[in-house]
Symmetry: C2
Subunit: 250 residues, 2 copies
């Protein structure tokens, strides 16, 4: 059983302002919830059906659990088809990166707005072993329920932080090159692919912002049909990111 007030409180975390106010966020679904617990993040509360708890008692360990019915979960969930489990976690503290310390491939997202894209990019980065994503302040909140959902547990393994990309890039050591995805760059297959560097992805609607364009070392484009052919004007931002990550890591 769960009180009406508690249902209201947890539902309120679907909104950014309440997530920020309380420093909490919600994850739903077995993979998501268990991956966060495994990652050692602080769990405020886990809500699950009796059947789910029987199956996963060991993996849950000492986390505080409230048994609820599917009917109650439906009231709290942000999903059309709620899972049997939902958990409230404590947000990680916001950290900043020192680019002098970066010794790997990282992603920078410039005003990425779509939560589905953000979640999918986090999941893809995780697949390819990319552990750091730095987003501009205008990018969508990584704790947005749709981001958490689309990340399929990967948000527990990939560090996603927010920063002023322009100011941060000014502190970049010279050996870290910036690879920016644009529509009129060099063919992705033909550029150098070092094992450290910054892959910069622009917003869905406007691409990379004007202020950041001069900071790109290599403008790259994913080869499609020859110029002049009638085809899609661009690729979805998460698709472009994935193809670039694949090409760097293959």
């Amino acid at each position: 059983m769960i009180s009406k007030a508690r249902i209201k409180f947890i539902s309120s975390l679907q909104q950014r302002k309440y997530r920020q106010l309380h420093g909490l966020f919600v994850a739903e679904g077995t993979t998501n919830v268990l991956d966060f617990i495994k990652s050692g993040i602080e769990t405020e509360e886990l809500l699950a059906t009796e059947e789910w708890m029987e199956r996963h008692r060991q993996e849950v360990g000492k986390v505080p659990v409230t048994e609820v019915s599917m009917k109650e979960l439906k009231k709290i969930s942000s999903l059309k088809n709620p899972s049997e489990v939902l958990a409230v976690f404590v947000q990680a503290e916001q950290t900043t990166h020192d680019l002098q310390q970066i010794n790997d491939l990282i992603l920078m997202l410039d005003d990425l707005r779509d939560p589905g894209n953000m979640g999918t990019i986090i999941r893809t980065a995780d697949w390819f072993g990319i552990r750091t994503i730095i987003c501009s302040g205008e990018s969508v909140d990584k704790y947005n329920p749709k981001v958490v959902q689309a990340s399929m547990g990967s948000l527990s393994r990939v560090q996603v932080t927010y920063d002023d990309l322009f100011e941060l890039l000014k502190t970049k050591p010279d050996y870290l090159r910036v690879f920016g995805a644009v529509l009129d760059g060099k063919n992705l297959t033909e550029i150098p692919k070092p094992n450290k560097g910054i892959i910069l992805i622009g917003s869905e609607a406007h691409g990379i912002s004007k202020k950041l364009l001069p900071l790109i070392d290599h403008k790259i484009t994913i080869p499609g049909l020859p110029a002049g052919a009638t085809s899609a004007e661009s690729l979805n931002a998460s698709i472009a990111t994935a193809i670039i990550c694949y090409e760097f890591k293959r």
Copy 2:
């Protein structure tokens, strides 16, 4: 001005049963609407603001237009932030493919359920010049508003049809090989990539169905972290499709 009955009628097309009953579908946004008009599809009605019509009169040509206000568009739209234009188009007749005639790379989607994934796959196929997508009957309807939206106009250029994939694949000529995306296949970089063939993608939740697995000639997997490393269990279906298309077309 538009009547209440007409608003209700157009809104009803957000549901599959009414789209099928009337043989119509809705597209929203400038790119989507103009790409469909350019493709020569029959337009039942175009609804746009006066300002939009002034900017696009030439491209619209002889299509029947109703001028509406943003307030009216908000009532009809399936989007949170409606565009200034929405159009009702006549669905293309369902065709079937003779695999003996296929002389190119095509996609087959086995029970792909997520409309965002479907739309993104159509957009990606268009980018890479893939003109044919054959979906199992259980896959999401290509005229679902979220599919049309995510396809960003590409649905007007890529032929998407529905068929029984098992029966169809039995009629396949030997020179067309089936490349199936699985989690335990050969490294994508190491398999042959002919310029004709079938790329088979499974559903988001269950992958390629058991019935189709024996029909795969080359099981392929996108290389990620080494086995044993903790990372994402899989890639999103539209991401996997895009990386495979890129690798075949690069």
